[in-house]
Each structure stands twice: as structure tokens, then as C-alpha cells.
Symmetry: C2
Subunit: 359 residues, 2 copies
């Protein structure tokens, strides 16, 4: 198989973790006889410095001409006081919107060898295997008006949560499709006792459910969901929710695994290339020190192989290699907590590559 | 001291837990030589049935003519399919708005004798003592437009998050005032990398902070806050945030104590009576069975004594009595988990009263 991958390392630790992940993908290409071509682009703070734009047009065309996108992370203190449109995160929001990446998939799986790293009790997280499906290009992230104004002589600020029925339906369908290849349960999270958009969301979910008689649909209020994720996370299979709720719940759920450093994500569009990135940020405090945990990005590449290229065995190979390396006791500093071997970023990448070759 | 208290038991277990709490308050009145007059009103489902309105005018005037309000809980399956304006929660939202209850205080304290009930590790929750200050009468709960419409031939739904600068400033001031009598730290939670309202929120927080040089102010993004509450809850003293974020984070934080059945809340206005209610709901599944845990409501009454009547010793007496009863091994079913004595609602109330008389 021949594939072209747009690589956007971004800022902070982005460069290091992406470099390692590209090596891992090259190993997979060799082992399985594929050709992956990597082409590099700018995004975030670096793009602001170079181009005055957190998402240069060049990067957009690179992405449009690729089969998938690998992203590191964006942001850093250097740009923190910039106006909103010239902040690294604006690049992230823009690439989601321009590439139509409406479906953000965030799997959360307990990793037995890392159970101690979680602040939750072992018996609570053992066996957790859930997937948060977050709407990524609508809602209060993009609705207008979003402005300051004067009303009746008072200073006022407004943001707008808006969704078309179409936008709601396609993300809910995506969740049901995923549930069909998992444990066939969808928890739709909303705030239907307060928001009109949630009431529409609930109606559409009920309608879509009719097309998936095998899938169990349950509705849950977002405040309760925030509680249930901590009380009994094993009850969940697929959770589907709107953009802001998904942002909050998926970061909360990351605590089930004990480390953000392990969490992968995929952002998918209707028919264009998907984007794969770790859930964590650019960690400017440890950037350039060869200390960052590359595993979330490596696991995001595994998602790319599966979801964008349908290379299931190849994706599984990466996931298995990561698990085995962890079981062998190898750790980066963020998950070190009494580990046998504390590795640098490049050393961790080498271990994963060694393990892939052994599988 | 002579005080008039509006009592709104509401639906489900509301009646039982409020009845017990009134008895506890009467005991306090006797022990400390106060006169508490209780007058009853309707709210929620019951009010819909009786009056066709989840918050009858009569209840509003009762509240306005009282020194404080004690609320049980509202809601139940009977009204779940009603139109939004005829649902029990509409009564809750309306009383907040009509009584100007803009500041919702939700203290979260680890209770050593209940540590096992939490799904978090003991060392993580030991010593947790935080207060969530949630804005309660603005934001996306009340902003307009909130409607379905057709735009460019597409069905669309809109909710509006709106705040006046004044609304933001008064809740942030409340948080700083509370921090001054606590550990002098305020964490202001927002989503300033996405929302314009959060940017205004952050500016105002920075301005208010200038009036409180002794208080440390930190800003935290809501997704990170959802994570930090589970990762390291001891870092927090006072958390202040807007309505919806506060709804989500305070329910999440309730898991630190292991049981919603223990969590009290106060909702305060600028100068009218405050409202006190448990954080939990009306639990229709166990209503009328004399099984419900009355402690969250009893602890809400303790907050009333302190915050509305400035009866600090009296409030502390209730809190101490509750702690001692728990240490003696008494439990209601929701927190029973291997307890010595599993009590009914009325038995738990009796124990608290016995203990108050002994203090
Ligand atoms: C950086 C920020 C705009 C972004 C978001 O809120 O979507 C991040 O938190 C994420 O979850 O990818
Ligand atoms: C019942 C509901 C409208 C309410 C809210 O969201 O405010 C409840 O969850 C709460 O926190 O008091």
C-alpha cells in the first residue's frame, strides 16, 4: 500500500514525539511492505512566527493532498498574550473546520501495567474500555455571534452554541457505527433539562437509534456523566456528545488511565483525510529535553493505520508492541513512578521499534 | 434569634429529608434558645399537579417574606415527558432567577469515616477541602435566543451564553470574599482559548484580584480543571466558574466524597434570603421508603445557620454531630458498605438529634 501522510509537528514536544512516531511508522512500512511518504507542514506557534498565520494556506493544501494527517501539539508561553486569532490554538480550530474533521474519537482503555498511575482505585478502572465520540466542528466553539456589546447601557458578552440538525445527525450516526463494531451501547450525553440544542440532540439520537436496532441507546445528563465516569466507568462503551461537553469529559476520562501521556485521538471527516494526534498538549516545560512520552502519538498513528488505511493488523501490531514494552517495565518520566527503566523519548521509540520487529 | 424559614420539600425523597431536617433545626432552636418558624410551600412536580406551574406565585411571595429557604429536591418520571416549561426543573431554574440566587456554593470536604466509599484512592482525597462557587442565574442557562430556526434552508438550533460584566464581577467577588475566610486561593475556571465570554471573565477576575492582594488567583481551563479535580484535588481552595461549567465540575467533585448523599449547597443573592438544598436529586426510586440519606439536607441547614443567620456555633454543632454519628458507624443504605448500623431516614435523624443534645 502506498500512502502520503502530512506531518505537522507543531510546537513544544510536538517535534520530538512526531519524529519518533514517523520512525515507528517507517518500521511498520518495512515489516508489512507498504510505502509511507511523509511530507512536513507548519501549524500553531511556529506557523505564526514563520508565516503570521497559525494555519498557513500551504499547510491546508498539503493536508488536502494527503491520505492522512499526523499532528504533534501546538502552543507555548511565547504566544500566550497574542490576540485570539494569532494564538496557536486558532490553528487547531481552523484545521478542524477547514478539513471538516467533525468526529473526534478518543478511546480510553485501562492499561493494566499502568494501573498504579491512576488516582482511581484499581478495581474501578480494571477493564475500562470506552470511546468518547466528540463533535468537533460545531457548537459553542464556532457559533456566532460571539462578541462584546452594550445592551441597555450594560456591557455584555455573548457566545453562541449552534448546531444544524445535519451536524447532530452525522456525529450520532458515527457513534452508532462505532458501537456496532464494539459492545453495541451508545450513551448520548446532553443537558436536555436546560438546553434547546440538547433537546434536538436527544430527538435526533432517538431517531437514528431506529436504524440500529441492535444498539442500546441511553441518554445521560452531562453533570451525571461527569460523575458516572468516576463512579463506574465500566458502564460505558461509546459516549457521544457535543463539542464542549466532549472537551471536558474526555479530559476527565483521561484520568482513568492515569496519564495523558498515553491517550491517542482521531479526528475524522466525511470523506477527506483524517487527523491523528495525542490528546495531551505541547508541554513547553520539557520541550527539547528528550523526555516527552511519545506513546500517545505512536498510538495515534496506530489509529491512523486502522481508521484511515484499514490496516488493522498493522495498527494492532503497534498497540501490542506498546503494551509489551510497558509490561517489560519501560517507562518515560511522566509514568515512571518506581519503574525499572526510565527512558528518554528516543529510547522509548527504540523499544517500541524493537518490539514491533519481534512480533 | 427569631427567623422565618420557607420550606419547599418538593418531590420524591424531598419530603422525607426535609421533614427530618426541620426536626434537627428545631432541636438547635431549643438548645440555643432561638425561634425558627417554618412555613411550607410548593415547588416542582407537586406544584405542577396542584397549580399547573412548577413555581407558583404563592411560593415566590412566601420565599420573599422569609429569612431563608430550605429546599428538598424536585423531579420524577411522572413529569419527564412534559414540555420544558411544565417540568419540575423549570421551578428550580425559576426560583433561582426570581430570588436572584446568583452564587451557588458547593463545599466538598473529605469525610475520613467515608473514605472507602469513594472510587478514588484514600491518599488522593484525604484532606480535600474545597468550595465550588458556581454562577447560578446567567450564562447558557438563561441567555436568548434559545430556539429552533431555519437558516439557508437548514434546520438549526441555537442556545446563547451571555453575561453582563456586572454578573461576572459579583460572582468573582463572592469567590474572593470566601477565599479570604478560607485558605486565600481562588482558581478561576474558564475556556478562554475558545470563548469570548471566558476572555471577559478572565479580565474581570484579574481586575477584582487587585482588590484582594492577599489572595492568590490562578486561571485554569475547564478541561484541565475536570482533570485536576481527579488528579490532585488538594490543590484547590475556592473554585469559581460560570453556570454550566460549575454544574459539571461540582457533580464531578461530588465523587471525591464518595456519595452525593452527603453534599450540601447554598445559593445566595445580593441581599434577599438564601436557598439551601442538598446537591442530590429527588431519587424517585426510593421515595416514600424511609431509606433516603437526610445528611446532605441537614448539612445544608447548617450552611443556612452560618451563611444566612450568622449562627456559626449552631452550624458547627450540626456539622460536628453529623461527623460523630458517622464515626460511630451509623449509615444510611447509600453509604452502608459494610457498616455496623444501617439506619432508616428517621433513625438517622434521631441519631443526629441525640448527638446534638450531647454536644
Ligand atoms: C486547545 C483547545 C482549543 C482544544 C479544544 O478545546 O478543543 C483542546 O483542549 C482539545 O481538546 O483538543
Ligand atoms: C436540575 C438542573 C436544571 C440543575 C442544574 O443544571 O442547575 C441541577 O443539575 C443542579 O445542579 O442543581
Amino acid at each position: 500500500m502506498q500512502k502520503k501522510i502530512a506531518v505537522l509537528p507543531g510546537d513544544g514536544i510536538g517535534k520530538e514525539i512526531v519524529a519518533g512516531t514517523v520512525q515507528v511508522m517507517q518500521t511498520i512500512a518495512e515489516q508489512f511492505n507498504h510505502q509511507f511518504e511523509f511530507e512536513y507542514g507548519c501549524i500553531g506557534g511556529e506557523a505564526i512566527d514563520v508565516d503570521g498565520n497559525p494555519l498557513p494556506e500551504e499547510t491546508v493544501s498539503l493536508c488536502k493532498n494527503s491520505d492522512a494527517i499526523l499532528l504533534g501539539a501546538v502552543g507555548g508561553p511565547k504566544w500566550d498574550n497574542n490576540p485570539p486569532a494569532l494564538r496557536p490554538e486558532a490553528g487547531l480550530l481552523a484545521i478542524r473546520k477547514k478539513m471538516g474533521l467533525f468526529a473526534n474519537l478518543r478511546p480510553v482503555q485501562a492499561i493494566p501495567s499502568l494501573a498504579d498511575a491512576s488516582t482511581l482505585k484499581k478495581e474501578v478502572i480494571d477493564g475500562v474500555d470506552l470511546m468518547i465520540v466528540r463533535e468537533l466542528t460545531g457548537g459553542i466553539y464556532f457559533g456566532t455571534p460571539r462578541e462584546r456589546r452594550i445592551e441597555n447601557g450594560k456591557e455584555l458578552v455573548v457566545d453562541t452554541l449552534s448546531y444544524t440538525n445535519e451536524e447532530i445527525e452525522r456525529i450520532i450516526r458515527k457513534a452508532f457505527d462505532l458501537a456496532m463494531i464494539r459492545r453495541k451501547k451508545v450513551t448520548s450525553v446532553d443537558k436536555a433539562n436546560v438546553l434547546e440544542s440538547s433537546r434536538v440532540w436527544r430527538e435526533i439520537a432517538n431517531n437514528v437509534a431506529k436504524d440500529y436496532p441492535e444498539v442500546e441507546l441511553e441518554h445521560m445528563l452531562v453533570d451525571n456523566a461527569a460523575m458516572q465516569l468516576i463512579r463506574n466507568p465500566k458502564q460505558f462503551d461509546v459516549i457521544v456528545t457535543e463539542n464542549m461537553f466532549g472537551d471536558i469529559l474526555s479530559d476527565e476520562a483521561s484520568m482513568l488511565t492515569g496519564s495523558l501521556g498515553m491517550l491517542a485521538s482521531a479526528s475524522l471527516s466525511a470523506d477527506g483525510p483524517g487527523l491523528y494526534e495525542p490528546v495531551h498538549g505541547s508541554a513547553p516545560d520539557i520541550a527539547g529535553q528528550n523526555k516527552a512520552n511519545p506513546l500517545a502519538t505512536i498510538l495515534s498513528a496506530a489509529m491512523m493505520l486502522k481508521y484511515s488505511f484499514n490496516l488493522i493488523e498493522e495498527g494492532n501490531t503497534i498497540e501490542e508492541a506498546v503494551n509489551q514494552v510497558l509490561e517489560q517495565g519501560y517507562r518515560t518520566a511522566d509514568i515512571a513512578d518506581g519503574a525499572k527503566y526510565v527512558l528518554t523519548t528516543t529510547e522509548m521509540v527504540e523499544q517500541v521499534i524493537r518490539q514491533i520487529k519481534e512480533i
